[in-house]
């Protein structure tokens, strides 16, 4: 049953984090935006703390317990660099990623985020179709 419970519980935690952050700080959780603020804004304390928590939380679970699916074999650094550049630049130009548009934007029923999410998911599906 773990293949059902883990995605459900994981998704609930992601949503809970976004909800608590919104209610207390008045901000939406958007990882690409927080990264940009951490790098380029004067007022960077909150986004930086959030990202630190994300990295600790996201790696602690994998270290403490056995994941059900193994990670892929290490892929080419050039593929990672190309992917990172596209994700880094694209999320700034489009003003959001899977969290900001995908989770928070859809929750707010923002038409802009619905269009963005449909666009990046379709482009990602086509990319996987062409490369796998």
């Amino acid at each position: 049953m773990n293949h059902l419970y883990n995605p459900l519980l994981g998704g609930l935690l992601i949503g809970l984090a976004a909800a608590i952050y919104l209610i207390t700080s008045g901000r939406v959780v958007g990882i690409s935006g927080m990264l940009a603020q951490s790098l380029f804004n004067k007022n960077k304390r909150l986004p930086l703390i959030f990202l630190l928590g994300l990295i600790i939380g996201g790696s602690a679970y994998g270290i403490l317990t056995q994941q059900t699916t193994p990670f892929p074999e290490i892929r080419s650094p050039w593929l990672m660099i190309l992917s990172g550049l596209l994700v880094g630049y694209g999320t700034r130009l489009g003003n959001g990623c899977t969290s900001g548009h995908g989770v928070c934007g859809l929750a707010r029923l923002s038409p802009r985020s619905i269009v963005a999410t449909a666009t990046f998911i379709s482009c990602a599906i086509i990319t996987v179709l062409l490369t796998h």
């Binding site: 992601i14 919104l22 990264l35 990172g84 596209l86 994700v87 880094g88 482009c123």
Partner: protein
């Protein structure tokens, strides 16, 4: 107080990503591979995350100000323009190539450093490129 809550939210968010295996690019690519060996589990993740987040949004609409801040800092742009579409398309292509979006990519520095370090350096470079192109 807000800093402590922000740290807890970051931890919960990261823990949720790991528990739902969003941090594993093999699972993410499996989800995007709808014409191959499709793994639909991330639909459950998205649906659960959006539902709880929506509940939070409903609660926030009843508050005049956030609990621990002076004012709301919510996105106000409503424009659906070429920038939004091009940016989201480029992001989607990059996401499909590696299976990393920004959050899981950051955790990969620890979980899968031989990939994560290159991805995050390029992620920062891509964001910086936009920053320098658009600085006033």
């Amino acid at each position: 107080m807000l800093m402590l809550i922000t740290l807890v939210c970051g931890l919960l968010f990261g823990f949720g990503l790991a528990l739902s295996e969003m941090t594993n690019p093999a699972v993410v690519i499996g989800f995007l591979d709808i014409f191959g060996h499709w793994n639909p589990s991330l639909i459950i993740v998205m649906a659960a995350a959006v539902s709880v987040s929506m509940l939070g949004y409903k609660i926030s609409k009843k508050q005049s100000v956030p609990l621990l801040a002076d004012s709301w800092s919510l996105p106000t742009t409503r424009l659906i323009d070429r920038k939004l579409l091009t940016g989201s398309a480029l992001f989607g292509i990059g996401w499909g190539l590696s299976g990393y979006c920004p959050g899981p990519g950051l955790t990969a520095v620890i979980n899968n450093p031989q990939e994560g370090i290159y991805f995050v350096l390029a992620l920062v470079a891509g964001s910086a490129l936009y920053q320098f192109q658009n600085k006033k």
